[in-house]
């Protein structure tokens, strides 16, 4: 079953669409991944990127993140209408940093332990928020997760106290 049946992208899907940075680049430092496999007529990410690192010619082109220009700043993360921009950082040994958008309550805070959710919405472990900032109501949250879960985890859930 493909992502149009499940709502879940596989690593091969992303590779095939040319949306996955190389492992080499991921290990070098943070970089944005546009998990946007359909040719939606939208260019917000390209417009908001301060480094012009997202390349599109026509409005419906897939967003191509230029690995040399992108520094993984995460400005695109809260602004993508599809909440499909993530920043992955595999430069630190033994762990991965995932930056993702978050639009729920309770509010995220640095140091908070959170449940890690897979692409299917299953709890696959716990992580710690290392950074959280808000842009127009959307939080951009960076969580530290086990390194082997860098592709699996795509959401967090903060339990109510």
């Amino acid at each position: 079953m493909g992502y149009k049946e499940t709502g879940v992208l596989s690593i091969d899907d992303l590779k095939e669409k040319g949306l996955l940075p190389s492992m080499e680049r991921l290990e070098k430092g943070p970089i944005a991944i546009a998990e946007c496999p359909e040719e939606i007529p939208c260019n917000i990410c390209a417009n908001v990127c301060p480094f012009n690192a997202i390349e599109m010619e026509k409005i419906y082109d897939l967003p191509r993140v230029n690995p040399d220009k992108c520094i993984g700043c995460g400005v695109c993360v809260p602004q993508c209408p599809g909440l499909a921009m993530f920043v992955i950082d595999l430069s630190k040994p033994g762990k991965a940093l995932i930056t993702l958008p978050y639009e729920f309550l309770p509010e995220p805070k640095k140091g908070l332990k959170v449940k890690l959710l897979s692409r299917e919405g299953k709890v696959v472990g716990e992580g710690v928020i290392v950074k959280a900032w808000q842009y127009d109501k959307t939080w951009t949250v960076t969580v530290e997760v086990p390194r082997d879960k860098w592709f699996e985890v795509r959401a967090i859930w903060i339990p109510e106290k």
């Binding site: 992502y3 149009k4 049946e5 499940t6 709502g7 879940v8 992208l9 998990e35 946007c36 496999p37 359909e38 040719e39 939606i40 007529p41 939208c42 260019n43 917000i44 417009n47 908001v48 026509k58 409005i59 419906y60 602004q79 993508c80 209408p81 599809g82 909440l83 499909a84 639009e103 729920f104 309550l105 959710l117 897979s118 692409r119 299917e120 919405g121 299953k122 127009d136 109501k137 795509r154 959401a155 859930w157």
Partner: protein, 494 residues
Amino acid sequence: MSGNYRIIKHPIIDFRRGRRVIFYYEDKAIEAYEGESILAALYAVGYRVFSYSSDGKRPRGAFCMIGKCSSCLSIVDDVPNTRICIEPVREGVRVYKQRGIAEVPRKTNYTPAETVEINTDALIIGGGPAGLQASLVLADLGLDVVLVDDHFRLGGQLIKQTHRFFGDKKFYGGIRGYNIAEKLSKLVKEKKNIHVYTRAYAYGLFRNNIVGVAVRGDKPVNLLVKPKIIIGSTGACEKTIFFENNDLPGIMGAGGAQTLMNEYGVRPGDRALIIGSGNVGLIVSYQLLQAGVKVVGIAEILPHIGGWFVHAAKVRRLGIPFYMRHTITKAIGSNRVEKAEISMVNDKFEPIPGSEKVFDVDLVLLAVGLQPNYAFYSQAGAVLKYVPELGGLAPIRTKYMETSVENLYIAGDASGIEEATTAFIEGEIAALSAAIKLGVDKESIRKRRDELLDYLWNEYRLSPVVSRARAGKLKVTVSEEEMEKIRRGEYDGI
């Protein structure tokens, strides 16, 4: 009846509730806030049955929430057949449940509505994305505009959207729907040559080119507008489907739930099942989660997700399961939904016995598609065409958005279901064309219109994800020569 369904804290929307008022439902005091509809206030404290079918037997709940479906007819201050989903709460108002066909009103003291005649350059019907954009464009060209909308707030469906819009910055991409509504409404209200009427229903086109507009409120007015041109941007309404007990309270249009939770800040239920995985179904699922509603699943009759993948991924990673090749076969409950049954379907979309799954839910949202609101154009005499890709019946038009009724233009979802970006663009094209017709003929206007047409047809609509809508729009767009023939009744190529 108990409970509190008002959303106090929401991750995106700050609900600013009005003054506290008390009104009476079935002689019981109900606390509410100014700016709420009677139905929203009742829903907030736990009521779910608001009326009964015409034979008095079947309970009816909230369905459309925008005054169209007539499922909430109630007796308000001795006036029956009042649609309480669009009737604002007022201090001391007395409301009773209507059980089937009502007796004639007991209320007899009345103030007749004032009748006001208005001549204007342009009448815009509907203040959603297309209508707002068209009004602003016409006003900037110095024309006199009357903008009417049946809701008490401008913005159309924009006001119910918490997500940022896709598209291009030029057309409000990246801004949340309700923020776009606020922004454009503010601009519109600043223009001296746009006369805005809300709670204003354009009820028909009459002889001598008069459009009747009923403006409800404390001082009701019957506006008789004589416009030189009309731009209809009347939007769309939801479709519904058949299944056992499909009228049980708790079954609602997805838009109805959006109105409750995102406009009035009222949680539409505790546990919801969504029918349909188009963008509306996916977006409403996400919004339900934001409002604190558990979503037990999304059923989709087709083998694949109907909407855009990114919307699907958003809800999937938060744990909402998809049931592909499934449809709802039954709602269960005595006075309101208590359970819902879905079944798998075969290749002919027929339910497969034995494949049933039952969920404990109090809310079933139908997100099975939208259809253009064609009534005004049909009444005005415009030639319509049934185009499944556009959601139903849509008026034939030129690429300049003029229908077969001369000087009647169309834009937005009313012209065939698409999305907000195209609504803005169509609104602007219609406005520019109307301006040219009215003699405001500057080179810059034509140039702008050409650019918009080029962008719309040769870039935006070439996106594969909107190809179906493009194909639909092609079916209803004719050349000026063909339109002349249609007007003379000579063209049967449609």
